[in-house]
Symmetry: C2
Subunit: 441 residues, 2 copies
């Protein structure tokens, strides 16, 4: 018959298995961060290549593609090592696998995309959108990995990490769309608005990142952001967003000075962001390692107590062979008792002090797990906020035939008027989903 | 190299393992429901036994204890069959184990409690409180089992089930405390208030039950509740709660007519509630069985498609041995295409139609999993609402030195004034936890 204590141990073991799983998820996040960075560069290079009619970046593009392929191989290798049959079932795992399925399908299609680019048989904006789609499918994998984290500290770090990755991807899209505007001189109000949305979106992601990252990473990041690069970027953003560029000839042409400056500036910023990601990945690994070590040493301590107790219990049972009496302190209200005092019914299996020690261990563990769950829920809520806003935006767009920008503005307006958070407005919108989707009688 | 499709299959497999796990959790819930019912009867019988100075229910108590022991043996047997090392790690699993540890510890202490009752060496209210504590520890196991459910339909049913069990336990406490009041004639304002709180608490639990149970169970329940038993109970409640009972002699005495009527009426109601629990348990088992069968047949369909595809792929690869081309439709915006049309880059590994079928399968799965998660979150929120209210109440009790009743009234007052749900007020209170816990400067 299993004792209560063996479940106390089992609970701890469960936490360790979970932490080991989280360490693997962190590794995956890191691999995908590297891969996404490569794909972002490939997207940028492909744009320059197309805009220049295949003159510029032809060689660089080959190199970047080769280095993307290495990152893809690493990611595929990781996926291959995942054992879908093994231990981790559950819907969050199912969601992860479902995202991986979709992302792998996207990676399968990458050679076809590259070929069209090589043949210059695809428009620049279509290239941007195709890479965005592929990278989004990879970020969805990271999201699920972050969402399945069950340790609040690790979860917080993953929330910071995911939001930073998302912000970096929006910065990558900004580089690409800016390059298209400058390269083709086809600036129009729509693309300039898209650029503004991307800048706005980055700010939102970075805000969440800032509220979940640790102090060290934050000061590293703010040093980067307060440097001359940001001033330069802001100057260029102003130029790209406000100047009415003279439409260039339709025929592709090499990048002019402004395009080169824009591309370089954005690239340096994105590479800087990649350094933050590296820091976050390292922190994540250290944190997982530390937590696993700590949990293992605590498990050892539990096991030792368990061993002591079972030998004591054996002795006690031998001494009171016919004892029908039992422990009672479970029912006491855990008021401190003078040491050595014996409970009324005598002959408690372990002795009253030891029994109270066990009860305290149990209550400590239950309390700790409860606190963990509460903190975890807070971190997860932040992870999902973006999703709520996005989905509510989509709902308004469909319902009122609004543009993305207009739907977003409308929600922000409501939030300001009602002095509520944007996410709460989004939730209210979603709460009315079935109502909004029902046509008026 | 694993294909995206194999992850699609793996995701499905993960869902099946999870469903099988849920079937086990449902079994556990059922076993604990039976055990709790026995312990509730044991509590009631013990009270009558004590109140009558060991004259009444001496034999019944022995019979009930024997039948409790059978139920305990079943539950222990289930716990023994749980493999703590195996598959299901995770913090929700750790929480479940931690609750089981505590409940087992409580069951270990039951013989000691029974002995004190047999010796009439414990006060009636202490007996009530001891059984309440034990049953609460078992309900906490049921809560965690319900909370770890990841299928929204099953989760909804478990939320209904758990709340019904909780309501039934409050009905059991009502029976016990009413018996103490009537038995000893020691009615005082405090105990009468406690009774009112228990009636109020039952109503809250049953309200949640009603919003999550299916139509059939609801009509079965409302038939029960609209019967003559309820009218009788309400009449008795009024008498117990409002009459100033003449204090009886301190010495225990057999139950008078009113006590017998009260005890019988409450017992018939509680036994009726047990029937509802049986219905819910049966539904739960049927639901799990159906879902597992459905998921398995869908998995089979996936596997067949997977097989067809890999043979098609092999053929395609043999035909285009040196093809560097690849699929592209991942990047298309999934606009319907005329059937038979071939994509630009030709030589797609599977053929464009098959590829689109895969994409649709992937999107369908991702969408389904997302919907499941959303619905699940809604059901879980209801499960946790009670906890929020309880914890907020505790916080106010500590902070303002309020009674339970006063703290609850205060929150209900705030909810009415602000036209908000009680749970939202509770969350607001909890949000101020650190503030409230900081002493004023």
């Amino acid at each position: 018959m299993k004792s209560g204590l063996s479940f106390l141990v089992a609970a701890r073991q469960g936490e360790i298995v979970e932490l080991e799983q989280l360490a693997r998820s962190s590794e995956l996040t890191n691999l995908l961060g590297q891969l996404i960075h490569k794909l972002q560069r490939e997207r940028g290079a492909s744009n320059v290549f197309l805009a220049s009619g295949g003159v510029q970046f032809a060689e660089q593009r080959q190199q970047i593609m080769a280095s993307s392929d290495v990152a893809i191989a690493h990611a595929r290798d990781f996926f291959d090592r995942l054992d879908p049959q093994a231990s981790f079932a559950g819907i969050s795992r199912a969601r992860l696998f479902s995202r991986i399925a979709y992302a792998l399908h996207g990676l399968d299609a990458l050679p076809g995309l590259r070929q069209r680019i090589a043949q210059q048989a695809i428009a620049a904006m279509d290239v941007v959108n195709a890479y965005v789609k592929l990278i989004t499918s990879l970020l969805a994998v990271v999201f699920e990995a972050a969402d399945s984290a069950t340790d609040p500290d690790i979860s917080r770090l993953l929330v910071a990490y995911f939001n930073f990755m998302q912000g970096k991807e929006l910065a990558g899209q900004e580089r690409a769309i800016g390059a298209v505007i400058l390269g083709y001189g086809r600036s129009n109000a729509e693309q300039q608005q898209q650029l503004l949305n991307l800048i706005d979106g980055q700010e939102r992601c970075l805000q969440t990142f800032r509220s979940f990252a640790d102090q060290d990473t934050l000061s590293f990041w703010s040093t980067q952001e307060s440097g001359p690069l940001t001033a330069e970027l802001e100057r260029l953003r102003r130029m790209v967003c406000t100047t009415h560029l003279a439409a260039k000839p339709q025929a592709p042409a090499p990048m002019d000075d402004l395009s080169v400056t824009w591309y370089d500036c954005c690239t340096r910023r994105i590479d800087g962001m990649r350094q933050i990601e590296d820091r976050l990945a390292e922190q994540l690994q250290t944190l997982c390692r530390e937590k696993i070590l700590r949990a293992k040493s605590e498990l050892q301590a539990y096991n030792e107590i368990l061993q002591t107790l079972s030998s004591q219990k054996a002795t006690a049972e031998a001494e009171h062979a016919n004892a029908t009496h039992s422990t009672f302190s479970f029912f006491d209200d855990h008021q401190p008792r003078p040491p050595g005092e014996v409970t009324g019914s005598m002959a408690a299996s372990y002795g009253p002090q030891m029994e109270r020690a066990i009860l305290e261990m149990m209550q400590e563990q239950a309390q700790r797990l409860q606190t963990m769950s509460d903190e975890l829920n807070k971190a997860k809520a932040a992870l999902h906020e973006r999703k709520y806003v996005e989905r509510a935006k989509g709902l308004l767009m469909t319902h009122r035939q609004l543009s993305e920008e207009a739907a977003y503005k409308m929600m922000r307006q409501m939030a300001m008027e009602q002095n509520r958070h944007l996410v709460d407005v989004a939730k209210s919108v979603l709460a009315l989903e079935s109502y909004l989707n029902t046509p008026a009688a």
